[in-house]
């Protein structure tokens, strides 16, 4: 027999969902509106604004920049993050305990402050060109996710397995690649996805580091909105949502979503 649920609880849950989902419904609706301004409920029905995204060159180039940044930045953060997570887990006793906190600091610092200090140090201080600056910024932005998620999966890794491989004649680096890495694969994939999504959606850090000629998609959306208040913005948002949902669907199908929260 089903347990009875208090009506107030049902009402409250409905309100929460409405609060979370209503803006999305509005955005999706406006994207199809046959008007030259953002409006909801949509008046008429057209795919014109979706085509418009591809007509505007700035959207194309910034989308490519965003993808490049997300892929390279995430790769870079894993390149640093996996060895760091490994060292933190493997030498938990020997290393100081604040070290794992250090890698999470970028999350704790307000992104605006983080972005500004990166601009001062990397773009102005080191005088690096815009793309490398953005790349460093994004790699640092997502580094905490890489370290934390890979650490979580290393926490359940039994390091005597590594010692077994070494005792059987496998050198340490080869052991890491052929024995440790395959066993934390799920964690590495999860870290990649989380980092990728964080990077591709970032505004606050990118806004300080973009400059003439190079911008990211979210920044371009903001810039476009300042000039044109048309449904293109809504349709770009819908496309971004679709990409995120698609990534999540792939995760769910291959690994199960629960492992992201493990």
């Amino acid at each position: 027999m089903a347990r009875s649920v208090h009506p107030a609880l049902i009402a409250f849950t409905a309100c929460v969902f409405l609060f979370l989902l209503a803006p999305l419904v509005i955005i999706i609706g406006s994207a199809f509106s046959d008007t030259s301004y953002l409006t909801f409920p949509p008046q008429g029905l057209t795919l014109h604004w979706f085509w418009n995204i591809f007509e505007i060159e700035a959207f194309r180039t910034t989308a490519i920049t965003s993808l490049e940044l997300a892929l390279l930045g995430t790769a870079l953060s894993l390149l640093i993050g996996i060895p760091a997570a490994y060292a933190i887990s493997r030498y938990r006793v020997e290393l100081p305990s604040w070290l794992s906190t250090l890698f999470v600091l970028p999350i704790l610092v307000p992104e605006i402050v983080f972005g500004f200090s990166l601009m001062k140090s990397v773009t102005i201080g080191l005088g690096l060109p815009i793309f490398p600056s953005l790349l460093i910024g994004h790699a640092l932005l997502v580094l905490p996710y890489s370290v934390r998620v890979v650490s979580a999966s290393l926490a359940s890794f039994d390091f005597s397995i590594e010692e077994a491989a070494i005792s059987l004649g496998c050198p340490p680096l080869k052991t890491f690649l052929t024995v440790v890495l395959p066993n934390i694969r799920a964690g590495v994939i999860a870290a990649f996805i989380l980092a990728f999504i964080t990077s591709i959606n970032d505004v606050s850090v990118s806004v300080f580091l973009t400059g003439p000629g190079i911008s990211t998609l979210p920044i371009q959306i903001l810039a476009h909105m300042e000039q044109f208040f048309d449904p293109t913005i809504a349709s770009v948002s819908v496309l971004l949502m679709l990409v995120t949902v698609a990534v999540m669907a792939v995760v769910e199908a291959t690994l199960g979503l629960t492992f992201l929260t493990k």
């Binding site: 039994d158 010692e163 077994a164 070494i166 005792s167 004649g169 496998c170 050198p171 340490p172 066993n183």
Partner: protein
């Protein structure tokens, strides 16, 4: 080809804490030596030093004519069996066993043959295609054993290999490990905290405490003739009485303990008795009698052991555990004498 393992006065530290102090040990070719002790005694540290996972602060480790001391762990050629099996979760049973052969660049076909043959020897033929997760604890440990044996290492080391198995399987496995080790004649070092396991499986046992070997001997000698009070207590001499000789009459020695308790022992039965000594007695080695030549005592709580009654006794020399015959149970509070039986007692020289 069997070789001997020699550990020459090694010391080791964790940070600033010393874990091993000047420890020396040699395992003869083909011999199985156990390191026995409670947790923190340094037995696992010793094994990890030999394996190369830790570096000694001083001393040397030699295997045959090879100096292992500075050799990296992967070049030491030692078969290791871990407490938690440490199988590779992402590889099949056969691939697990073949892993060491692969590192030795043995061709794929020969690798498979050798691994399959070794799986058959440990009674797991037909399970080669499974993943370790699909095996029981006993099967996992057999795979671990096969994986360590198949590389034909000059030295096998076991780190509490049976502690995760249930009691019955433990006994079966230790007999099997012993048989495989005997047949191969592989020099072996075995770490355990279980006395019965160590005594049943080993040629010699090193009883360890606080980073030192207290005594290294055959199980028989350890059990009958412990060298010091620590080992005596460890192998089950519940009662240790400090005594001082006050009179000698031929072979007879009369000694006095705390509180003026007196006892007369014959050197014909107990061996040479020094002036100051400790008499170690198992509960079975002190028989509770109405009268006789022994230590006077007042009986306390009586418990039933099946083969005897056990009494908590009060004597002038301190509290003592002794056993009495089932035929004549005695009441708490009654006076009795505790007569030492030489074959269940030992004479120890007090440590300075």
């Amino acid at each position: 080809m069997t070789v001997s393992l020699t550990i020459q006065s090694i010391s080791a530290h964790y940070g600033k804490t010393p874990v091993l102090q000047d420890l020396s040990l040699s395992v003869a070719a083909g011999e199985l030596v156990s390191l026995l002790g409670s947790s923190g005694c340094g037995k696992t540290t010793t094994l990890r030093l030999v394996a190369g996972f830790l570096q000694p602060t001083s001393g040397a480790i030699r295997l045959g004519d090879r100096d292992l001391t500075t050799l990296p762990a992967h070049a030491r050629d030692i078969g290791l069996v871990f407490q938690n099996y440490a199988l590779f979760p992402h590889l099949t049973v056969l691939e697990n066993v073949a892993f060491g052969l692969k590192q030795r660049r043995i061709a794929a076909q020969e690798r498979r043959q050798k691994a399959a043959a070794m799986l058959e020897r440990v009674g797991l033929s037909g399970l080669g295609d499974r993943l370790p997760a699909a095996l029981s604890g006993g099967q996992k440990q057999r795979v671990a054993l096969a994986r360590a044996l198949v590389i034909e290492p000059p030295l096998l080391m076991f780190d509490e290999p049976l502690s995760n198995l249930d009691a019955k399987l433990r006994i079966d496995m230790r007999v099997e490990i012993r048989q495989l080790q005997r047949v191969n004649g592989t020099t072996s070092l075995y770490v355990t905290h279980d006395q019965e396991e160590a005594f049943s499986i080993s040629d010699r046992v090193a009883i360890m405490n606080a980073g030192r070997i207290m005594q290294l001997d055959t199980p028989e000698v350890l059990y009958r003739k412990p060298a010091n009070a620590f080992v005596a207590r460890f192998v089950g001499f519940e009662n240790l009485l400090s005594l001082r000789t006050i009179a000698r009459d031929g072979a007879l020695v009369t000694a006095e303990g705390a509180g003026g308790a007196k006892i007369t022992l014959s050197q014909d039965d107990f061996g040479l008795i020094p002036d100051d000594f400790i008499l170690g007695c198992r509960a079975d080695g002190l028989s509770v009698q109405q009268e006789g030549n022994g230590l006077p005592a007042v009986l306390g709580t009586r418990t039933y052991l099946g083969r005897a009654y056990q009494y908590q006794c009060t004597t002038p020399a301190g509290d003592i555990v002794a056993n009495g015959a089932l035929s004549e149970p005695m009441a708490a509070g009654s006076a009795a004498v505790l007569v030492p039986a030489p074959e269940q007692c030992c004479i120890l020289t007090p440590e300075l």
